[in-house]
């Protein structure tokens, strides 16, 4: 167990007073940028980057990665309390986290999210510790067709999930793909769908879309229905924080399954966003209480959060060992590595043992520090829910407007954000699902690039998606997930015709 020895050596580097202080500072700053929408981890890390130039590389990466953990946790706070996801990967957390918080259980929702996130991160780090070299090889097997197959699998696991009418899911997906296509196309290099607006060449930012769709959209619905016009009475209850965490082991199956999905998507560079969506979709299919998902189910929070953090953590491995950044934040950190004079790549593990193992050890310690700090802040954040709606509603509008503007200091983004708010409202009123739309906006262009790169490689033959075992398995699994609901429905119809009344109620329940 060479790795174990290296890890212990790493701990001697990570667990020193200056490094622990850096971790606390990093985590606190991270929570701050995570909670403030429009800032987010990549911006936070790039703001902090110049300060680290004079530091030892290992201290610098500990500070930056702690900030990353803090931001990941902080991002979940706004998703759960205000339905505004700060990062693409916390979108799926809103589906059940927000209903639960509105239901008067914000403390439970936050504590559950943080607890399962910490579990996911832990599994991710353990994986990195013991399987570093093997994992690096897996990622290398991924060419364009394999990438496409992974994205296809993510879409399939979500689309086939049921809930909204399938045709509405397809419509939502199609709109999402169209939005993802705006801007410069990687494969042809030409400008698409800018409709004469020069500024649209940069594409539509995820943050802008999501703040409108979720934040403003939800607000419009709430104003109309007046159901949320009351403050949620939530006691500041420290005991509930610990009870919620203590209840987690009861959902052991969901935790392990989500951690496995997360690690797999983190290593095969599918990324945390695809992981959290996929995990949510699969949990909904296989959970005993799957029908209640979208109304504040505990497993609906556990699944995306665990997968998100497992993927986020294990995604740092391809960055270190191969120099592929798994997320925007990882890309900034990689820039940092180069400036500190380190070159990410296979040799980092040989040349810079202190750095690599100091970082890995700091991931254990940093995550513990982060979860302790965020759990302490839960009651404070939960107390925000007690503010009356008449006060919080304008605040949400301000936050969304400032957040959208600060993405790239652009007025157009604010207008688009408000436009997306109206789209979000219409989607909710007409029972169109928002999740496929967001999924398509976030990974639609990547899926498209991968598909077209594959087509270039194979000269237009679809056979490339069945060219080797790996890609065939992924594609077949995707098709199976896609067809499963259809088959289930057919067998149900064949056995006994379902009553139409039942259909509509289940449809109305699931308006995510």
């Amino acid at each position: 167990m060479d790795n174990l020895q290296e890890l212990l050596h790493g701990f001697t580097i990570a667990v020193t007073v200056p490094h622990l202080v850096l971790m606390v500072i990093g985590v606190l700053l991270g929570i701050l940028v995570g909670v403030l929408p429009g800032l987010g981890a990549p911006n936070g890390v790039s703001l902090l980057l110049p300060l680290t130039f004079g530091m030892q590389p290992v201290s610098a990466i500990i500070l930056l990665s702690s900030m990353y953990w803090g931001a990941l946790f902080g991002g979940s706070v706004t998703s759960i309390l205000f339905n505004i996801p700060g990062e693409p990967s916390s979108v799926a957390t809103t589906f059940d986290g927000y209903p639960m918080a509105r239901d008067g259980r914000p403390t439970t929702a936050l504590a559950t999210a943080f607890g399962s996130a910490a579990f996911g991160a832990l599994v991710g780090v353990i994986l990195i510790t013991f399987l570093a070299s093997w994992v690096a090889q897996v990622a290398l097997a991924f060419g364009p067709p394999e990438y496409f197959a992974v994205y296809f699998l993510a879409f399939a696991s979500f689309v086939g999930m049921g809930g909204a009418a399938p045709i509405k899911t397809v419509v939502a997906l199609a709109i999402g793909f169209a939005i993802a296509a705006i801007g410069i196309d990687t494969v042809s290099g030409s400008v698409r769908l800018t409709m004469g607006v020069d500024e649209l060449v940069k594409g539509v930012s995820f943050v802008v879309a999501v703040m409108g769709l979720f934040g403003i959209g939800e607000l419009l619905v709430a104003v109309e229905e007046e159901v949320h016009a009351r403050a949620v009475s939530s006691k500041i209850d420290w005991g509930e924080v610990f009870r919620a965490v203590a209840r987690l082991p009861r959902h052991g199956v969901a935790l392990l399954r989500s951690a496995a999905i997360g690690c797999w998507m983190g290593i095969t560079p599918g990324g945390p966003t695809a992981a959290s969506f996929m995990s949510y979709g699969i949990a909904r299919r296989f959970s005993r209480r799957g029908r209640h998902f979208g109304t504040g189910e505990v497993e609906g929070i556990i699944s995306p959060e665990t997968a998100d953090h497992a993927a986020g953590t294990s995604a740092l491995l391809p960055m270190l060992s191969l120099g592929i950044p798994g997320s925007a934040t990882a890309a900034v950190m990689m820039g940092g590595l180069m400036i500190w004079g380190l070159n990410p790549g296979p040799m980092l593990f040989v040349d810079q043992k202190d750095f690599v193992w100091g970082l890995i050890a700091s991931m254990y310690v940093g995550n513990i520090v982060a979860v302790a700090l965020v759990l302490l802040t839960v009651p404070v954040f939960a107390a925000l829910m007690r503010i009356p709606f008449v006060i919080i509603a304008p605040l949400i509008v301000i936050i969304c407007v400032v957040g959208a503007y600060s993405v790239s200091n652009s007025y157009l983004d604010v207008v688009m954000m408000l436009g997306f708010g109206i789209v979000g409202y219409l989607f909710k009123k007409l029972f169109y699902p928002l999740a496929p739309l967001v999924l398509a906006i976030v990974i639609g262009d990547k899926a498209e690039d991968a598909f077209r790169q594959s087509m270039l490689m194979s000269k237009g033959s679809l056979g490339i998606f069945f060219a080797n075992r790996l890609v065939t398995c992924l594609v077949v699994a995707g098709i199976a997930l896609l067809l499963l609901p259809l088959v289930l429905q057919l067998t149900r119809i064949w056995r006994k015709p379902t009553s139409p009344a039942h259909e509509t109620t289940s449809q109305e329940k699931v308006i995510i």
């Binding site: 110049p50 042809s188 020069d198 500024e199 940069k202 400036i339 990410p344 296979p346 490689m457």
Partner: protein, 330 residues
């Protein structure tokens, strides 16, 4: 290369000496924004942040500097931003040669003439890379193998520097290559390591780690002379051990990508001179040398007439390749 850039440096210094008194006439009065026309972590972003860091460290200006990333649309977002900020001397745009290349091949809402050129500060070299265990040892072998089977060449973006160079290789080497565009050079490097493509033409810094890690190796450099001697990358070889492509029978003498600095259009000559002077001071620091060495770039400084001449020549060349490929937009 070294002697020419030294020559250019001294020429630039003379030009600068002439403008010194003028530059004292204008000083920034509020915070300065550095616009990187690339996402965080890329080469352009690294340059902007390195310059920011040096200026702050040596207090080369009293005003604080913020770096913002506007990398959307392969950098077009940042250039368009520069265009609409005409007359504002507090926005400095950091880019590459795509400032003049992109408008030629895609319908973007800017041209390099909308901006005020300040300087080209560093040149990134290009190399031909293959997988470590590939059978060919020289560019000649590579071309021979490519002639009989169709090779896949990876690169960053479409109709950008990497694809232009690929088309040049096709033409000079009489081969046909399938070009697969990826988002970045780093992505192409990983695809080569996994054997999904046959080669790419990354800059040194983009594949340094991969070379050291033994997943891929450079066959030759698209440079008139061998690259400068530096520390060894692998156990036995460093950049200066990589032969030039011309040596190996692939007759492309020089292909480089400059890192460029711009101001928005319609700024006064005083204001432009201030930034030329500022960049000049940055370049004289040991931190700059360090940055150049770590990123394996070539130190250079083109400004004024030399910079214009460079752009014109590069444009001429690109127009030729682009019209052959049918890329020119009407």
């Amino acid at each position: 290369m070294r002697s020419t850039s030294a020559l250019l440096l001294s020429a630039a210094a003379v030009v600068l000496a002439g403008t010194m008194p003028a530059s004292a006439a204008w000083q920034p009065q509020k915070p300065i924004e550095f616009v990187a026309t690339a996402g965080p972590g890329g080469g352009t972003d690294n340059l902007a942040r390195a310059v920011q860091n040096i200026i702050t460290k040596y207090k080369l200006t009293e005003q604080p500097i913020v770096v913002v990333n506007k990398g959307g649309g392969s950098g077009a977002e940042g250039y368009v931003y520069g265009k609409v900020s005409a007359g504002d001397p507090y926005k400095v745009i950091f880019g590459t040669s795509n400032a003049w290349q992109q408008p030629l091949v895609s319908k973007v809402a800017f041209n390099y003439t909308d901006l005020t050129p300040i300087a080209a500060m560093a040149q990134d070299e290009f190399l031909l890379w293959v997988k470590q265990d590939a059978p060919y040892k020289t560019a000649g072998d590579y071309l021979k193998a490519a002639a009989s089977s169709e090779f896949k060449m990876g690169g960053a973006q479409s109709k950008d520097t990497d694809e232009v160079l690929t088309r040049m290789i096709e033409k000079t080497g009489h081969v046909k290559l399938t070009y697969i565009p990826f988002k970045s050079g780093a992505e192409a490097a990983v695809q080569l390591a996994g054997g999904h493509i046959d080669s790419h033409v990354n800059n040194p810094s983009e594949s340094l780690g991969q070379w050291r890690g033994g997943t891929q190796r450079p066959l030759c450099a698209f440079s008139p002379k061998r690259l400068p001697q530096g520390p060894k990358i692998t156990a036995t070889e460093g950049w200066s051990d990589v032969p030039t492509c011309v040596e190996q029978g692939l007759d492309i003498k020089q292909y480089e990508q400059p890192r460029t600095v711009w101001l928005p259009g319609k700024v006064t000559p005083d204001q432009a001179a201030f930034y030329v002077d500022l960049m000049k001071k940055v370049q004289a620091t040991p931190e700059w040398k360090d940055y150049i060495e770590k990123t394996s770039q070539v130190d250079t400084f083109l400004t004024g007439g030399d910079f214009d001449k460079f752009i014109k020549e590069d444009l001429e060349h690109l127009k030729q390749v682009a019209s052959e490929q049918g890329w020119l937009i009407k």
